[in-house]
């Protein structure tokens, strides 16, 4: 078995596709009709193999889950970056709202921001063991 897909739930697929591609820089791998919704899978231009699926939050369980995480300030997922501080600057200039500015926590330096679709996202940069 191979781990190829990672799903997150978004409150609007159009809004999410725009944010994740135009602001975050992911590329569309698949975008096809699926019932009343769409199957949207994104990949990173930096490679990596795994793809991010933007699912609707129509199911009551999905909505309850994402709202609970958001309420408690818990990111739904995280992306690895080479330079958290540079990303923080770039995304802030693009209008992204952060709830946690770059902070070193043990082996990683992290920052947390809103994906405009009801989720918080974390970006993290591995730092030296003595970071």
């Amino acid at each position: 078995m191979r781990i190829k897909l990672s799903s997150i739930h978004v409150d609007d697929q159009d809004k999410a596709r725009r944010f994740y591609t135009e602001v975050l820089g992911f590329e569309v791998s698949v975008d096809v009709p699926a019932g009343e919704y769409r199957w949207i899978a994104l990949r990173s231009p930096e490679g990596g193999g795994a793809e991010l699926v933007l699912e609707p939050d129509a199911h009551p369980a999905a909505r309850a889950y994402t709202q609970a995480l958001l309420r408690d300030g818990i990111p739904i997922t995280g992306f690895e970056v080479d330079d958290v501080d540079a990303e923080f600057t770039r995304l802030t200039e693009a209008g992204v709202v952060f709830t946690q500015q770059p902070t070193t926590m043990g082996p990683v330096r992290i920052a947390v921001f809103s994906d405009t679709c009801g989720n918080l996202l974390q970006i993290y940069q591995p730092v030296g063991a003595d970071g």
């Binding site: 809004k15 019932g35 300030g73 802030t92 709830t99």
Partner: protein, 154 residues
């Protein structure tokens, strides 16, 4: 922009309230939501939009439209009742607003969905998909050619 945990919490609670079923019958004024966060309405709307990608009003309308679509597709309630429950002033207003979002009239949409998916259970599944449920819907969709489907999963 970096928001304090308190401010983020306040905006999150406002969004929850806007998305709650009770909002349709008793919509909380944006001015009230703003005051709860200690912000002027203008400032509140701007921050809300920055965080959630849409204004409180846009979110409220989008959520109402979602509920209307579900009611039209999955229940037998009259179009008029659905429209009035969604806060429309009249059937005419409801039809116009719905058509602007959806490209067809409420009854047109209802007819199309029931014709496309006559089975009640399947229709429910299509509109309220389970986690990863979209995968089997893609496979079942007749709008995708074999070649394109194969290419998508290459």
């Amino acid at each position: 922009m970096v928001l304090s945990p308190h401010r983020m919490r306040c905006l999150t609670e406002a969004r929850e309230e806007l998305l709650a079923p009770a909002d349709i019958d008793h919509p909380v004024p944006v001015a009230t939501l703003a005051a709860r966060c200690g912000l002027t309405p203008t400032h509140f709307i701007r921050q809300f939009r920055a965080v959630f990608g849409e204004t409180p009003h846009q979110l409220r309308l989008r959520e109402r439209h979602r509920r209307v679509r579900l009611a039209l597709a999955l229940t037998e309630r009259s179009v008029t009742d659905i429209g009035l429950d969604a806060g429309a002033a009249s059937l005419g207003t409801f039809s116009t607003t719905f058509r602007a979002h959806e490209g067809r009239s409420p009854s047109g949409y209802r007819r199309a969905v029931r014709q496309a998916v006559p089975d009640d259970e399947e229709r429910h599944e299509r509109l309220v998909p389970s986690c990863m449920g979209l995968l089997h819907l893609v496979a079942a969709s007749t709008t995708i050619s074999e070649k394109r489907r194969a290419a998508a999963w290459a």
